[in-house]
Symmetry: C2
Subunit: 221 residues, 2 copies
């Protein structure tokens, strides 16, 4: 536990906001297939961000999310009317925050607070701005500003320039094991919010702390 932490940087999807409501939207349209379609959707969304970074063919996360949705629907259904695509994509703009988020952020008010996401501003800003705690953040940082997806070191590095902090002053918080690995590899302090009780990723990069929800990070004040 380092008390030298000045900036708390949060991942967004799955960390601050529950993406469960996306599954519910899919289930509304495709009863009985909500689980399988939304699983493929999420899997391909991640995969496409990794693959495009590896191939050097960057495209924004909003577009990638749409591409992943198309793949998931094609795998399960034949046709994809554009109204359906729009309805499902809208779900990403209205996610429910996890219950503890607001209270935790209030207790961190004296620190530098930011979100840092693979999401592009067209999907991040509406979500953060419309939340009750949006104004508590000093900055909303997107990889889209440098077109380098997490977990590349270049992506995490971008937050240092934006927030004017050094890497040892940062606690990075994410529910995604691969994101925590990337942040640790870059040199951030890391807190893994292991909401789903998953094993630690086998990438030789252990998180500095593991919590069941965000309240655990208050130890770092």
């Amino acid at each position: 536990m380092s008390k030298s932490v000045r900036a708390f940087i949060f991942d967004v999807y799955g960390t601050l906001f529950d993406v469960h409501s996306v599954k519910e939207a899919v289930e509304t349209l495709y009863p009985g297939k909500g689980e399988s379609i939304s699983q493929t959707w999420r899997k391909k969304q991640l995969e496409y961000s990794f693959l495009r970074q590896l191939m050097g063919t960057y495209r924004s996360f909003w577009e990638i999310t749409k591409d992943a949705l198309r793949y998931a629907l094609k795998e399960n259904e034949r046709s994809i009317p554009s109204e359906i695509e729009e309805f499902l994509m809208e779900a990403y703009l209205h996610l429910t925050p996890f219950p503890e988020v607001h209270e935790v952020l209030l207790q961190l008010r004296n620190k530098t607070l930011a979100v840092f996401s693979n999401g592009s501003h067209d999907m991040l800003d509406p979500l953060i701005d419309h939340s009750l705690f949006g104004e508590l953040f000093d900055d909303v940082v997107s990889v889209d500003e440098v077109k380098q997806y997490k977990p590349t070191p270049a992506a995490y590095d971008h937050t240092l320039h934006t927030l004017k902090v050094s890497r040892k002053e940062v606690l990075f918080i994410s529910s995604n094991g691969w994101d925590i690995s990337g942040a640790k590899n870059f040199g951030f302090h890391t807190a893994w919010i292991n909401r789903n009780k998953l094993p630690i990723e086998e990438l030789d990069l252990h998180p500095d702390a593991i919590y069941e929800d965000l309240t655990g990070i208050l130890e770092w004040i």
Copy 2:
């Protein structure tokens, strides 16, 4: 269909060899869990190659495959005796080729034939050498020689230097959609062996040809 193709370069896992026997080995040890453990194993194997490439922390595919197995077993069981690990890893050295492989390769004898895999030589060589068609290949090329995983352009580029061909003279053959996207992005002709009737990846990179099995590529002679 370009008749200017001089070199036929094959991916290995899922393309020449069926990885189904890996699932059977898992099922032997964990009855009823063969499917779920081996799915996680394969998923993490791929993911770890992508993530390590993105983070700049290369490790050989044999080691990554072991790491992925550990994750998959931890997700499902508590303890992982090292004999179990060894038994399951061994399965990768004794895969069954798809039935049409040998005959197709025989018909391509006048061409330059090579395999090109993310697999390291410690896992590739025993597999290829012990197959009936191993001697038909002019070369066994591994990304481990340059420590750049597919689908980076640098990985595919390595085959050109090794085989002394230009990219327009190559037909690259893989059953993995993401691998075909990477090869197409690099500038190879591509034939996707879509054994599982999956949708085309939504990465704006269409394969030049799609076949149900390898016999289709004989059109390119």
